[in-house]
C-alpha cells in the first residue's frame, strides 16, 4: 500500500469511528458544563443504541424502508433525553452523588435494555437491521485530488452531522445567553442563582441534552457500526467519550479533536496490521496505542484538564 492509500483508508475510518464519540462527548459536555458529572454516558449510549435498533426493526417491519433509521435516530434522541431524567432526578433533585448515580444508570441501561430485548424478541440480541446507513462519495467534492479521497469519499453522512454538531455546540456554549447561563451554573451556581437563573432547571436541561446527544451517539453507532443490538454492542464507547470530553477540556472543538484522535488511533490499530511498516509490530502495541497515546498526551502536552468548578456538587440553595 502506498502512503496515500493508507491515508485514504485510515482517515475516513477515523472519522467514522469518531462520530459516536463526538456526539456522546458533546452530550457529556452539556451535562458537565452545567455542573453534573456524567459517568452515565455509557448507559445513555446503550439506551440510544437499543432504541435505534428496536425502532428501526419495527419500522422496517411496518414497511418504512430507508427512512426507518432516521426516524429511529430521532427516537433515540428523545428516549435518551427521557432516560437521562433518571440521572437528573437522582443527582439534582435527590442530591445523589453524581458519580454513583451515573454508575447506577450504566447498570440500569444494560439490564433494562437486554431484559426488554428478551421480552420482545425472546432472545438476547436483535436481528440485524436491513436498512443501514451506508457510505457514499460526496458528489463533486470526492473528485478533488488528495482531499477528495481523504475526506469526501467513502464517508457516512452521520460523520458530517457529528462534526457539524460540534461546531454548533461550540457556538451555543460560548456565544449565546443559554451557553453563558449553562456555564455559570457549572462554575458558580449560587452566583447564577442570585442573578435570577434557575439553577435546577439549567441542570435538568444540561443533563437531558446529554441524554439526547448520547442517545444519538449510541444510535449512530448502532446503525452504522454494529447493525444489531445486544448487551455487548456498547462496551466502553461511553467511557471513551468521557475521556474525549476531558481530553478536549470540556470544549466542543476539543471534544471533536479528541474524538478524531481516538478514532485515528483505533483505525491505525486495525489497519496497521496490513501496513508494511507496522505489520511486524506485535498487535498489542497497535491495540493499546489509542489508550497509551491518550495517557501520554494528557501527561505531556495537554497537561492539566480543569473541569467546571462546581462540578459534582449538588446545589443546595443557601448552603455555603
Amino acid at each position: 500500500m502506498d502512503f496515500m492509500q493508507i491515508l485514504a483508508l485510515v482517515i475516513p475510518a477515523a472519522i467514522y469511528a469518531a462520530a459516536p464519540l463526538i456526539l456522546t462527548g458533546l452530550g457529556g459536555l452539556f451535562s458537565e458544563r452545567s455542573g453534573v458529572v456524567n459517568i452515565g454516558l455509557e448507559g445513555l449510549m446503550v439506551i440510544g443504541a437499543f432504541t435505534g435498533i428496536v425502532v428501526t426493526l419495527t419500522l422496517e417491519g411496518m414497511g418504512f424502508g430507508g427512512s426507518s433509521v432516521w426516524l429511529a435516530m430521532l427516537a433515540a434522541v428523545m428516549i435518551g433525553a427521557a432516560f437521562s431524567l433518571f440521572h437528573a432526578v437522582a443527582s439534582i433533585t435527590f442530591r445523589a452523588d453524581q458519580i454513583v448515580s451515573g454508575v447506577a444508570l450504566n447498570f440500569l441501561a444494560v439490564g433494562l435494555s437486554v431484559f426488554l430485548i428478551r421480552l420482545m424478541y425472546g432472545k438476547g440480541q436483535t436481528d440485524y437491521i436491513r436498512n443501514r446507513i451506508y457510505r457514499f462519495d460526496v458528489p463533486v467534492l470526492s473528485d478533488i485530488p488528495i482531499i477528495g479521497p481523504l475526506f469526501f469519499s467513502n464517508v457516512y453522512i452521520t460523520s458530517y452531522i457529528a462534526i457539524l454538531f460540534a461546531i454548533v455546540v461550540y457556538f451555543v456554549v460560548f456565544y449565546t445567553p443559554f451557553g453563558l447561563r449553562l456555564r455559570s451554573v457549572g462554575e458558580h451556581p449560587m452566583a447564577a442563582d442570585t442573578m435570577g437563573i434557575n439553577v435546577v432547571r439549567m441542570r435538568y436541561i444540561g443533563v437531558m441534552l446529554s441524554g439526547a446527544f448520547a442517545g444519538l451517539g449510541g444510535a449512530v453507532f448502532a446503525v452504522t457500526v454494529s447493525g444489531n443490538f445486544s448487551g455487548t454492542t456498547i462496551v466502553g464507547q461511553g467511557f471513551m467519550a468521557l475521556a474525549a470530553l476531558i481530553f478536549g477540556k470540556w470544549n466542543p472543538l476539543g471534544v471533536l479533536g479528541a474524538a478524531l484522535f481516538f478514532g485515528l488511533a483505533q483505525a491505525l490499530s486495525i489497519t496497521g496490521a496490513q501496513i508494511p511498516l507496522l505489520a511486524n509490530v506485535p498487535s498489542v502495541f497497535l491495540l493499546t496505542a489509542p489508550y497509551v497515546l491518550t495517557i501520554l498526551a494528557l501527561a505531556g502536552f495537554v497537561g492539566r484538564a480543569e473541569g467546571p468548578k462546581a462540578i459534582g456538587k449538588p446545589y443546595v440553595k443557601g448552603s455555603r
Partner: protein
C-alpha cells in the same frame, strides 16, 4: 444532641436496607408487568442462594473478588481518588499471580503467599501509573484509569498468547502449591468452587480499616484526600501520598485478581472482554459506604444476587438481567439517601 445520636445511627443503617428493599420491590413490579411471577422468581432467587450448601459456597466464592475490588474502590474514595481502573488492576493481578503460580516451584507455605503478593504488586503497579501521573502532572485519574483498563486487557491477552498459551485459550494450570482451592471446602459445599480466598478477602477488610483508621500513614492518606493544601501545609508529602493511595488501592484490586487466578480458576484465560469484577467493585464500595464491613455486606448482596439469578433463570424463567436492574435500582436509592432520610424524618416528625 446526645439523645439524637443513636437515632441518627439508626437512620444511617436503615437507609441501605430501605434502598435494598425498594430495589427488590421495583424488581417485583417489573416482573409483574412483564408477565413473570415475582413470588416464584424471588423464591427461586433465594433458593439459589441459600437452599443448598453448594449455592452458599458459590455465593461466597463470587463474593471473594468482589470484596477485594470493592475495598480497592473504597480505599481510593477514602483518599479522595476515584479508581475506575480496578478492572484493569484485577486483570494484571490475575495474570501475575497465575504466572508466579506456574513458573515457580516452592513449598506451599511460601509459594501461595508469593503468588498472592505477585498479584498485589501487579495491581499496585497498575495503580502506580495513574497515581504518579496525577501527582506529577495533575492528570485526571479517571481517564487514565479507564485507559489503563484497556491496556491491561489487551496486554494480558497478548502476554498469555505469546508466552503462556496452552490449548483452551488459556494458560496452563498453576501448581498445587500456589492454589487456594480446597477439596475440603469443596466437599463441604457439594463441589462448589469455594476456596480459601475468602479468608484473604476478610483479612483485606481488616487491613483496609487498620491502614486508614489506625495508622499515621492512613491519617495522612485521608488528609490528603480531603484537603491537599492543608496536608502540604502540615508537612505531608502530598504527591507521595497520592501515589501511595493508588498503589494500595491497586494492590487490593490485584489481590482480587489473584483470587480468580489462584482460587476460582487456577489459570487465566484469554479474556474476550472485561471481567466485570472491577466495575462491580464500584457498586459494592458505594453500597458499602466505603467501609470494610459495608463492603463485606454489599458484596454478599451482590454475590448472592448474581448466583441466585442463575437459579431464577433456570427455575422461574426470569432473565438474569432482572437482577442487573435490581442492582441498579439499589445503587440509585443508596445514592439518593438524602431523599430517604428526608422522608423518614418527615414520617418521624408527623408521627410524634
Amino acid at each position: 444532641m446526645k439523645k439524637l445520636l443513636p437515632k441518627n445511627k439508626l437512620i444511617s443503617l436503615a437507609v441501605p436496607l430501605i434502598a435494598v428493599l425498594l430495589g427488590i420491590l421495583i424488581g417485583a413490579i417489573v416482573m409483574l408487568f412483564t408477565g413473570y411471577n415475582p413470588v416464584l422468581g424471588y423464591s427461586a432467587l433465594l433458593a439459589g442462594i441459600f437452599s443448598d450448601t453448594y449455592y452458599i459456597g458459590e455465593t461466597i466464592r463470587t463474593m471473594t473478588p468482589l470484596i477485594l475490588s470493592g475495598l480497592a474502590v473504597a480505599f481510593a474514595f477514602r483518599t479522595g481518588l476515584f479508581n475506575i481502573g480496578v478492572e484493569g488492576q484485577v486483570i494484571v493481578g490475575w495474570l501475575a499471580s497465575v504466572y508466579v503460580g506456574i513458573v515457580l516451584e516452592l513449598p506451599k507455605l511460601i509459594h501461595l503467599p508469593v503468588a498472592i503478593l505477585a498479584g498485589a504488586l501487579a495491581g499496585a503497579l497498575w495503580g502506580f501509573i495513574p497515581g504518579i501521573l496525577k501527582a506529577r502532572f495533575q492528570v485526571h485519574e479517571v481517564i487514565v484509569t479507564i485507559m489503563m483498563n484497556y491496556i491491561a486487557l489487551y496486554t494480558a491477552n497478548y502476554l498469555i498468547r505469546a508466552f503462556l498459551l496452552v490449548p483452551g485459550e488459556r494458560t496452563e494450570a498453576i501448581s498445587k502449591s500456589a492454589s487456594l482451592a480446597s477439596p475440603f471446602l469443596q466437599s463441604l459445599t457439594d463441589y462448589s468452587r469455594l476456596h480459601y480466598g475468602f479468608i484473604v478477602a476478610l483479612l483485606g477488610c481488616v487491613v483496609m480499616w487498620f491502614i486508614l483508621w489506625k495508622t499515621s500513614k492512613g491519617f495522612e492518606l485521608r488528609a490528603v484526600g480531603f484537603n491537599q493544601h492543608a496536608s502540604q501545609y502540615s508537612g505531608m508529602n502530598v504527591k507521595k501520598n497520592i501515589v501511595l493511595a493508588m498503589v494500595i488501592s491497586g494492590g487490593f484490586a490485584g489481590v482480587a485478581g489473584a483470587m480468580e487466578g489462584l482460587g476460582t480458576y487456577g489459570y487465566m484465560s484469554i479474556l474476550s472482554g472485561f471481567t466485570g469484577v472491577g466495575f462491580d467493585g464500584i457498586a459494592v464500595a458505594l453500597l458499602g459506604a466505603n467501609t470494610g464491613v459495608g463492603v463485606l455486606l454489599a458484596s454478599f448482596l451482590f454475590g448472592g444476587l448474581q448466583i441466585g439469578a442463575l437459579n431464577m433463570q433456570s427455575k422461574a424463567g426470569v432473565p438474569v438481567e432482572l437482577i442487573d436492574i435490581v442492582i441498579a435500582l439499589i445503587i440509585f436509592f443508596v445514592a439518593s439517601s438524602y431523599i430517604i432520610r428526608w422522608v423518614m424524618n418527615r414520617i418521624k416528625k408527623e408521627g410524634i
